[in-house]
């Protein structure tokens, strides 16, 4: 019974052909291909061309899988077995069209997926290569620009101290503003290069959040007013007054967002909002948002705006602001998001987790990144120190002595500019600074071409008490090195000695 079914089943799927050794058909059925006796089988389909050569004399059998005998796979796709007998060939063709049709759809999706992944990979490689090239270029470029710019600023300051006519003073102001813009742009370029190369590290410390926002309010209310815009800051009263995080980098993020908002808004307002998402034992999650009523960004441009050197409009600047924002927030474990409607405005926002101290620290009522006094009749001191507690105690000691007015810089990278811009009688230099060490900075100052800068007395402050290390600091150019904790009187005596 089963054999009968089997026979019946196979009957429709198999064709048997015998040919002589030259490929002339001797016998065949017509199950799959309409082949007549005495024809050259090579004329039926090119597959059968030159059978004797395909199956050489030593070979008794060859099997060919998945041979497409029709125009398409659907038409007729078969397996073919060819047997070499003493004086003829036996050819067996099995119709497996259905089977191979299934295989084809599988192969189609497999290959398409594979090609798509290859293309994605290639695209990524191309993007990475572009980024690498760009970062290398901007790093070299900014490096080359730093030295001449430093000289321009120094010479501008020297000029400013000389006698100038009113017209010359006007020209000098324009020059100072231009160099200041250039300096800011260069700092942006360096930031982006450092972020891209993974060389930028966060430097968290406790800071007064209220003062931090006040600084932004003062800065941007004035800036917005110049363009006839309103600027407002709203905050949540439940946010702790003191937070712990990288104040400078957070400032950099928010100033970039506010700068952009003001730059791209012609009428209406810019709002900076800080909301408390969540408060736990000693952490808070804050939602920062900057919203404007400006030009807005079209959907197709939204993906591009966070790439460095991408500018969607026709404004000044290097187009680095949002790339810096994106990079810095990534470093802080956050992501920038944006909602925007063309001609209605943009809304940039991000969530940030920050720690807060359980006990209110003693921090002077000052902006702790940079503090300037206006009194001019005393010695001017630049205090280069990133630790806020040390900043506070030294600040108090020196102010109370009544002999000094003090500027504070907490980032080593800003020191040179501060010295060139303001000119100091003495520098108190912490050795262990972020980004660049105090002894390295000292070497830079000592190698400066202008006497008024290279000869400024420098007092090193360090927690390191090893003699060898202290000698190395002096060798770097520090006039004196004080080891923490030091006596207030000792500090002032040392300063007086050096200032004589």
């Amino acid at each position: 019974m089963l054999n009968k079914f089997k026979e019946e089943f196979k009957k429709h799927k198999l064709q048997f052909i015998s040919t002589d050794l030259n490929g002339i058909v001797l016998e065949t059925d017509q199950t799959l291909l309409p082949i007549e006796k005495n024809v050259d089988i090579g004329t039926i389909h090119p597959f059968f061309f030159n059978l004797s050569e395909v199956l050489n004399i030593e070979q008794e059998k060859a099997v060919f899988h998945c041979i497409q005998l029709g125009e398409t796979v659907e038409e007729l796709t078969v397996d073919i077995e060819i047997y070499r007998k003493e004086d003829h060939f036996l050819i067996v063709i099995e119709n497996l069209t259905e089977h191979y049709l299934n295989y084809q759809s599988l192969a189609q999706s497999r290959n398409e997926t594979s090609i798509d992944s290859e293309l994605v990979l290639l695209k990524n490689l191309e993007l990475q290569e572009r980024e690498r090239f760009k970062n290398e270029f901007i790093q070299n470029f900014s490096h080359e620009l730093r030295n001449p710019l430093t000289n321009i600023i120094a010479l501008t300051n020297i000029l400013q101290r000389s006698r100038l006519t009113e017209e010359q003073e006007g020209i000098l102001d324009v020059l100072k503003n231009a160099t200041s813009d250039l300096k800011l742009m260069l700092e942006d370029i360096l930031s982006i290069a450092m972020i891209a190369k993974g060389k930028l590290a966060l430097n968290p410390s406790v800071f007064n959040f209220e003062q931090f926002l006040e600084f932004l309010r003062l800065t941007y209310t004035a800036r917005a007013k110049e363009k006839g815009l309103d600027f407002s800051i709203s905050t949540d009263s439940a946010i702790p007054n003191y937070l712990e995080g990288d104040r400078l980098r957070l400032l950099q993020v928010l100033t970039n967002l506010c700068d952009n908002a003001i730059k791209y808004t012609e009428k209406g307002n810019v709002k900076l909002q800080v909301k408390l998402n969540q408060k736990r034992a000693n952490t808070v999650s804050l939602r920062f948002s900057v919203q404007d009523t400006g030009l807005g960004i079209s959907t197709e441009n939204l993906d591009r705006i966070f790439e460095s050197f991408e500018q969607l409009g026709r404004t000044e600047g290097a187009g680095l602001g949002l790339a810096i924002v994106k990079g810095l927030l990534q470093l802080m474990g956050s992501t920038i998001a944006i909602e925007s409607t063309v001609e209605e405005g943009s809304h940039f926002y991000f969530d940030l987790k920050l720690n807060f101290p359980l006990h209110v620290p003693e921090i002077p009522n000052i902006d702790n990144a940079r503090l300037k006094t206006v009194r001019k009749e005393k010695y001017s001191v630049l205090l280069v120190e990133d630790n806020e507690q040390v900043q506070t105690s030294l600040f108090k000691s020196l102010i109370e002595s009544g002999e000094f007015f003090i500027d504070v810089v907490s980032d080593g990278a800003l020191v040179m500019q501060e010295i060139i811009d303001s000119g100091y009688d003495i520098i108190l230099m912490d050795v262990n600074l972020p980004n660049i060490k105090g002894d390295q900075l000292t070497k830079v100052i000592r190698s400066f071409p202008f006497k008024n800068i290279k000869n400024i007395p420098i007092v090193g402050i360090t927690a390191n008490s090893f003699e060898e290390q202290l000698r190395a600091y002096k060798k770097a150019g520090m006039n004196a090195v004080l080891t923490k904790p030091f006596d207030e009187l000792e500090l002032i005596k040392t300063m007086r000695r050096l200032l004589k």
């Binding site: 090579g42 389909h45 090119p46 597959f47 061309f49 030159n50 050569e53 395909v54 199956l55 050489n56 070979q59 060859a62 099997v63 060919f64 899988h65 998945c66 041979i67 497409q68 796979v73 796709t77 191979y100 295989y103 084809q104 192969a107 189609q108 290959n111 398409e112 594979s114 090609i115 290859e118 293309l119 290639l122």
Partner: protein
């Protein structure tokens, strides 16, 4: 004089083997990618001189990234080989040396042409530079889409096959 010669066209999947053959045989092209499975065989007569034609029996083999695994039966009686890679996908030519070595051990002493296809999608000079940097030698850069160098490729191979036939 008319002779018939079997050539196989092989390479990674999606490199455009079927498109090259269709361009040569039917002078047609489709942008749709339809996977070839197993073998599809086409035939075209090529005039190599005034009194000489070669009927090329062209075996279009299913693409694979493992040339060494190609069924030996497909290569039986082969007179010439065309190895195709895709100039836009490095993965299809990065292991070309190994592929050709594997191929030469399977099909001995037959003319072989190495072809970079999809030239229409790239800048020719840039591709040549990349291939040179990667030490990839090739015989033709073609475009099945525009037909660029396709006939040259097959006709050149056909000529080589007639020369081979004469030497035999």
């Amino acid at each position: 004089m008319n002779i018939s010669k079997k050539i196989v066209v092989l390479g990674h999947f999606g490199v455009g083997k079927t498109s090259l053959i269709r361009r040569f045989v039917e002078n047609s092209f489709s942008n749709d990618y339809r996977v070839s499975i197993g073998v599809h065989i086409l035939k075209k007569k090529v005039e190599v001189s005034v009194d000489e034609t070669v009927s090329l029996i062209i075996w279009d083999l299913e693409g694979t990234d493992n040339i060494a695994a190609i069924r030996q039966s497909y290569l039986l009686g082969t007179h010439g080989v065309i190895y195709v890679f895709d100039v836009t996908r490095p993965i299809t030519f990065q292991a070309i040396e190994e592929d050709l070595t594997a191929l030469k051990s399977k099909v001995r002493n037959v003319p072989m042409k190495v072809v970079g296809n999809k030239l229409d999608m790239v800048v020719e000079e840039e591709v040549k530079k990349v291939l040179l940097e990667n030490k990839i030698s090739f015989d033709y850069l073609t475009s099945a889409k525009t037909g660029d160098k396709v006939n040259d490729l097959f006709e050149q191979l056909a000529k080589m096959l007639t020369l081979d036939a004469k030497q035999i």
